[in-house]
C-alpha cells in the first residue's frame, strides 16, 4: 500500500516550451508573463520568467532614452549582451533544473532578434511560442506608462514627469525598428499568439501541442477590466462542531447565523450596484450558506468546488485518523500537498480539478465563491502565489469574507469578519486537537 504516488506523470513531461514575449514597452508584456508563470507553477509545471531588462540593469542601471536608440552602439551592445545572458541562463535552467516553460520577457521587436532566439532555443529541442501584445489604444498605453514610471527600477528616485517623458522617448526608439510578427508575411512558420488591444482581436498561428494550446487558451482568457473575487467558507457546520472532517452535514446554529449575516457582509464589501455571481459547491453546507443572498444574483453549483475528499477518513476526527491510520496521519503532515487520503484526494488532486474554475475566474468579472477550507486554500494559493509547502496550512477562518482584487503586479486582500463565533478548524502539524485555537498569524 503506497498512499503517496501522487503527481507522477501528471505533467506533460516531454514538452519544453520557450515563451518569447514580443511587443513595444508598456504593452503589458510583463503582466502577461507574470500571469502565465503563476498559472503554470500553480499547476506544478516548472515555469520561470527571464526578464532581459533585469539583466541589462546589471550593466546599465538607470539608462536614459538614447541608450535605446539603435544608433547608439554602446547601448546596442549592452542590450544584446543582456539578451544573450538571459537566454543562456534559460537554457541552463531547462537543462539543469528540469524547466518546462521558460518565459523570455523582452521586447523582441525585430525579426532578426526573433530569428536569433528561435535558432538558439530551437537548437536545443525546445519549442518556441511567441506571444505578442500589440496595442494602439492610447488610454491603455498611458495607464501602463503611469504604472511603469512609478514602479520601474529604471526610474527609481526620479521626477515622475521626467520619467514618463523619457519612457515615451524610449518607446519611440523601439517603434522605429518594431515589426509585428509576420507583418511582412515571411514569419508564417512561427508558432505565435498575437493579442491586440487586450483581446479585442487575437491571432493564433501553428499551435503544435497540448501544453501550447493550454497556455494560449489561458492567455486569451485574461482581461484587465477591474473586478474582484470574493471567497467565503460555508457557515459553521454540525461536523465542524464535532471536529470531524468532510461529510455533508447541515449548518450549526451559528453557521445559520452566518448565512443570514452574509448578505449584509457582501453588501458592505461589494456595494449595491455591482451584479455578483455566486458559485457554491454541491454540498448542503455551502448551498445553505448562499441561500439568503439576493435573488437577482446568479447562483451556480460546481461539483469541482466540493471539499477535498478524505476517502476512508471522511467524517472522522483527527484523533480517530491518528488512531486508525497512524502512518497516514504522519505521512500527511510530512507532505500535506501530495498526500492523498486512501480512496480520496490530495491537495494536488484538488488543484487539478480546480483548473477549469481558475480559467473561468480569469475570464469572469465579479464572483463570490462559497466553498470549503481546502478548496479555498488552493484558490487562494493561485492568487497569492503560495508555495505547495505553504498553501495546505494557510488558516482560513470560518465566518469571514475574503476579497481578492487582482492588480498589475499581485493581488490585494481584504477581509471582512462577520463577528459570529465559530470553532477553529485549523490544525497545526502533528496536532490531533478537535479545535485548535488560536490559529497562528499569517493566515487570511
Amino acid at each position: 500500500m503506497a498512499p503517496r504516488m501522487n503527481g507522477v506523470g501528471i505533467m506533460p513531461e516531454d514538452t519544453r516550451i520557450c515563451v518569447v514575449m514580443v511587443g513595444l514597452p508598456a504593452r503589458g508584456k510583463s503582466y502577461i508573463a507574470q500571469k502565465a508563470q503563476r498559472y503554470l507553477k500553480w499547476l506544478s509545471i516548472p515555469a520561470k520568467t527571464f526578464n532581459v531588462g533585469n539583466y541589462r540593469r546589471n550593466d546599465a542601471p538607470h539608462p536614459s532614452a538614447d541608450f535605446f536608440d539603435t544608433n547608439n552602439p554602446e547601448g546596442e551592445r549592452k542590450r544584446r549582451a543582456a539578451a544573450e545572458a538571459a537566454v543562456s541562463d534559460m537554457l541552463k535552467w531547462f537543462k539543469e533544473e528540469g524547466g518546462v516553460v521558460g518565459i523570455l520577457d523582452a521586447t523582441n521587436s525585430t525579426k532578426e532578434r526573433r530569428k536569433w532566439v528561435l535558432d538558439k532555443v530551437g537548437r536545443e529541442g525546445i519549442e518556441v511560442l511567441f506571444v505578442e501584445s500589440k496595442c494602439d489604444d492610447e488610454e491603455l498605453i498611458m495607464a501602463n506608462i503611469r504604472d511603469v514610471k512609478t514602479s520601474s527600477p529604471d526610474y527609481v528616485g526620479q521626477d515622475p514627469e521626467k520619467a514618463a517623458q523619457d519612457f515615451r522617448e524610449r518607446i519611440r526608439h523601439y517603434e522605429k525598428v518594431y515589426k509585428s510578427i509576420n507583418e511582412d508575411g515571411d514569419e508564417d512558420d512561427l508558432t505565435y499568439l498575437k493579442i491586440m488591444n487586450v483581446g479585442r482581436k487575437v491571432f493564433i498561428n501553428r499551435i503544435q501541442d497540448y501544453l501550447q494550446s493550454r497556455i494560449v487558451y489561458f492567455l486569451m482568457n485574461l482581461h484587465i477590466r477591474p473586478r474582484s473575487v470574493w471567497l467565503s467558507r460555508h457557515g459553521e457546520s454540525v461536523l465542524n462542531l464535532e471536529g470531524r472532517i468532510g461529510g455533508d452535514s447541515e449548518l450549526s446554529h451559528r453557521g445559520e447565523e452566518y448565512a443570514r449575516k452574509l448578505p449584509e457582509l457582501v453588501r458592505e464589501s461589494v456595494g449595491d450596484d455591482r451584479p455578483l455571481t455566486v458559485w457554491t459547491s454541491t454540498l448542503k453546507r455551502t448551498i445553505a450558506t448562499a441561500r439568503y443572498l439576493p435573488k437577482h444574483y446568479n447562483q451556480l453549483q460546481w461539483k469541482a468546488l466540493d471539499e477535498l475528499d478524505a476517502g476512508v477518513c471522511d467524517g472522522m476526527t483527527y484523533q480517530e485518523i491518528a488512531d486508525r491510520y497512524p502512518e497516514d496521519f504522519q505521512a500527511r503532515d510530512e507532505d500535506k500537498y501530495n498526500y492523498r487520503y486512501r480512496g480520496g484526494e490530495s491537495y494536488r488532486d484538488v488543484v487539478i480539478r480546480l483548473e477549469p474554475i481558475i480559467m473561468e475566474l480569469e475570464r469572469s468579472e465579479d464572483i463570490l465563491i462559497i466553498s470549503h477550507q481546502a478548496v479555498i486554500r488552493c484558490i487562494y494559493a493561485y492568487f497569492m502565489q503560495k508555495s505547495q509547502e505553504e498553501s495546505p496550512w494557510v488558516p482560513v477562518p470560518l465566518h469571514t469574507l475574503i476579497k481578492l482584487t487582482p492588480r498589475a503586479y499581485g493581488t490585494e486582500v481584504q477581509t471582512y469578519k462577520a463577528n459570529i463565533k465559530a470553532v477553529s478548524t485549523w490544525r497545526g502539524k502533528g496536532s490531533t486537537a478537535k479545535h485548535e485555537d488560536p490559529a497562528p498569524d499569517g493566515g487570511i
Binding site: M1, A2, M5, N6, V8, G9, I10, P12, R200, K201, V202, F203, I204, N205, R206, I207, D209, Y210, S213, V216, Y217, M220, N221, D248, T277, T282, L283, N298, Q299, L300, Q301, W302, K303, A304, D309, G311, V312, D314, R340, R342, G343, G344, E345, R348, D349, I352, R353, E355, P356, R363, S364
Partner: protein, 534 residues
C-alpha cells in the same frame, strides 16, 4: 432540457484530410432528440442554460468545400436540408445558386431562408435551446450584418465562424473527396459531379467576401486549423471554448485503446483503493500480451496489404491514480512503456451508495431512486457523482486525448471508459450509463472520416469470474433499456453468456478475430448532412 455546449471534435487535420477519401467537412452533429446530449458537457445551471452565454446562434461562413469544421454538439440547422425539403426531389432551378438569379429563383431562396430561420427562433425561444448552428454560406458582409441584426432583434447573440482556405492543396482535395458524396450529386458520375460542383463554386467566388467586419463577433479558422483569427468576441465564454477546441483538433491515424483495470482484493469498496488480486495481476499480464500481439499483427497485416514497413507508433499508457489501474499498467511499464497517471480519471464516485445493494438503496433513498430513474445521466445520489459530473471532470482528459500524438492505452474503470467511449463514438448520453466493457476485451478506437470506428479485441484465457461488468461501479438501479439497443451493436450480453463462452474457450482457446463496430446511426445522420452550400 439541460444545457449543452459540448465540444467534440470531428476527425480532420489537414494531413489526415489529404489521405482520406471520405472526409467530412460539415458539422458533426448528433440527433436532435431531447435528452440526447453529448458527454463532456461543461456544467449545468439552475436555469438550464449557460447563463453567462445567453442564446447564441453560431453562423457558419464560407464557401463550400472549405472545411467548415466545428464540433459543438447542439442543434444544427442546415439550410441545404431546408432546400431539399422544400423543393421536391431537390431539383432547384438552374440559376438557383447564382448571384444574379431570376426573380422566381430569388423568391424561392427567400422562402427557404425564412423557414429555416423561423425554426431557429422557435427552437431558441420556445424549446429552451441555447446554441443553434446555422449552416449556410453567408457569403457577403452586408448579408452577415443583416443577419446579426435580425438575430439581435430576437435577443440572440451571434458568433460567426468562417473557415478560410487559401492553400490550393486543401481546396482541391476537399472538392474532389468530399463534395461529390453530397446528396445533391447522388448517383451521378463522379467526374460529372465534380465538374458541376466546381462550377457551383465558381459562380459564387465573385460574391464571396471573407469576414472583416470589425463590429461582429467572429472566429476565422485559416487553412484547416493552421491559424485562427478571433475578433471582438464579447461573449467570450463560448468563443474561447470553441477556439480552444478548434486548436486542439489533431487527429492523425493514431489509435486509442481502452482496457479495464484488473480485479482487486476488495472489489466492493470505492474508498479502499485496494491493490490487484492474484486474478487481477494475471489479467494485467494477459491484457498487455494481447494488446502487443494485436498491434504487431496489425502492423504485419498492413505490410501484407502493401503498406510501408515502418515501426509501430509509440504507445503511451494513461491510468487513473487508483492503485488498481496503476498496477494493471505495471507489466507494460516493466516492458518500458511510458505510463502516466491522471487524477481526473478516477472512477465515478458512488457517494452514499457505496457497498449498498440495490434493495438497500431503494429502501433508504426512495426519492432519489425515483429521480435517478427519470434521468440516470444527470441525477446525482447524495455525495455521489452523476455521469454528467464525471463527464465534466473528464473534459481536460478529452482535450489532451485529442492532442496526443502517440497511440494511447487508457486503463480505467468502467464508468470512465463509458464516458470516453461515448465521446469518441458519439453515443447518446442516455446510453452512457448502460455501456458495457467486459474485462475480456480491449477496445480499439480507430479514427475514420465520418465517424470513428471501434474494434473489440478479445483477451483469451481469463477467469470467467473476472470478466463481467464491474462491481466497482455504482450499484444503482438503472432503468432497463426500453427495447432500444445501445449504440454499440452486439456487445455480448455478459455476464449471462460469459460462462458458456468461457467454457468453450478453455477447452480450446480460440483467438477471436477483432470485431469492428461502427456507430451506424451516426454515420447515416452525418452523411446526410455532409454538404450544404446555400
Amino acid at each position: 432540457m439541460d444545457t449543452l455546449l459540448t465540444a467534440e471534435i470531428a476527425a480532420n487535420s489537414p494531413r489526415y484530410r489529404r489521405r482520406s477519401s471520405t472526409f467530412i467537412d460539415g458539422i458533426h452533429d448528433v440527433s436532435d432528440d431531447q435528452g440526447q446530449m453529448a458527454p463532456a458537457q461543461l456544467y449545468s445551471t439552475m436555469s438550464g442554460r449557460l447563463f453567462h452565454s445567453g442564446r447564441i446562434a453560431i453562423i457558419m461562413v464560407g464557401l463550400p468545400a472549405r472545411g467548415k469544421t466545428l464540433g459543438v454538439k447542439t442543434r444544427v440547422f442546415h439550410l441545404g436540408d431546408y432546400r431539399r425539403a422544400t423543393v421536391p426531389g431537390g431539383k432547384v432551378p438552374e440559376d438557383y445558386f447564382y448571384p444574379n438569379a431570376s426573380p422566381a429563383s430569388q423568391m424561392l431562396r427567400q422562402k427557404i431562408l425564412k423557414k429555416c430561420r423561423e425554426d431557429i427562433y422557435a427552437w431558441l425561444n420556445h424549446e429552451n435551446g441555447q446554441v443553434a448552428i446555422y449552416d449556410a454560406v453567408n457569403p457577403t458582409a452586408a448579408g452577415r450584418r443583416a443577419l446579426a441584426k435580425e438575430f439581435a432583434n430576437h435577443d440572440v447573440q451571434t458568433l460567426f465562424i468562417e473557415s478560410y482556405v487559401d492553400d490550393p492543396e486543401i481546396l482541391k482535395e476537399n472538392a474532389r473527396n468530399v463534395k461529390i458524396s453530397s446528396p445533391d450529386f447522388h448517383g451521378m458520375d463522379p467526374d460529372e459531379a465534380a465538374k458541376q460542383y466546381l462550377k457551383r463554386i465558381e459562380t459564387k467566388i465573385p460574391v464571396f467576401e471573407t469576414m472583416n467586419e470589425e463590429e461582429l463577433n467572429y472566429v476565422k479558422m485559416i487553412n484547416a486549423g493552421q491559424s485562427f483569427f478571433y475578433n471582438n468576441v464579447s461573449f467570450n465564454y463560448l468563443s474561447h471554448r470553441i477556439v480552444f477546441y478548434l486548436t486542439n483538433l489533431h487527429i492523425k491515424s493514431r489509435r486509442t485503446f481502452f482496457a479495464r483495470a484488473g480485479t482487486t482484493t476488495d472489489e466492493d469498496s470505492y474508498k479502499a483503493d485496494a491493490p490487484l488480486s492474484e486474478e487481477g495481476r494475471h489479467y494485467a499480464r494477459k491484457m498487455a500480451e494481447t494488446l502487443l500481439r494485436h498491434r504487431e499483427q496489425e502492423r504485419l497485416a498492413s505490410i501484407a496489404n502493401g503498406g510501408p514497413d515502418v515501426p509501430l507508433r509509440p504507445l503511451t499508457v494513461w491510468t487513473s491514480t487508483r492503485l488498481r489501474t496503476v498496477q494493471t499498467a505495471e507489466p507494460l511499464k516493466e516492458m518500458g512503456f511510458k505510463v502516466r497517471q491522471r487524477s481526473q480519471m478516477s472512477q465515478i464516485n458512488p457517494g452514499v451508495c457505496e457497498k449498498l445493494s440495490e434493495r438497500a438503496i431503494r429502501a433508504l433513498y426512495p426519492e432519489e431512486v425515483e429521480k435517478h430513474e427519470r434521468d440516470p445521466y444527470h441525477h446525482r445520489y447524495p455525495r455521489a457523482e452523476s455521469y454528467h459530473d464525471l463527464a465534466v471532470r473528464l473534459e481536460p482528459i478529452i482535450l489532451e486525448l485529442e492532442r496526443e500524438q502517440n497511440d494511447l492505452l487508457i486503463i480505467a474503470h468502467e464508468s470512465v471508459l463509458r464516458v470516453l467511449y461515448a465521446y469518441l463514438m458519439h453515443c447518446s448520453t442516455m446510453d452512457i450509463p448502460k455501456l458495457k466493457f467486459p474485462r475480456d476485451e480491449i477496445i480499439e478506437i480507430i479514427p475514420a472520416a465520418y465517424q470513428n470506428e471501434a474494434k473489440r479485441i478479445h483477451i483469451p484465457g481469463l477467469d470467467p469470474k473476472t470478466i463481467p461488468s464491474s462491481p466497482e461501479d455504482i450499484r444503482i438501479p438503472v432503468p432497463s433499456p426500453s427495447g432500444q439497443a445501445t449504440p454499440v451493436p452486439a456487445m455480448p450480453n455478459l455476464p449471462e453468456s460469459a460462462a458458456a463462452n468461457v467454457e468453450e474457450e478453455q477447452a480450446a482457446p480460440v483467438q477471436h478475430p477483432p470485431e469492428k463496430i461502427v456507430n451506424t446511426a451516426v454515420k447515416d445522420m452525418v452523411s446526410d448532412k455532409v454538404t450544404d452550400e446555400d
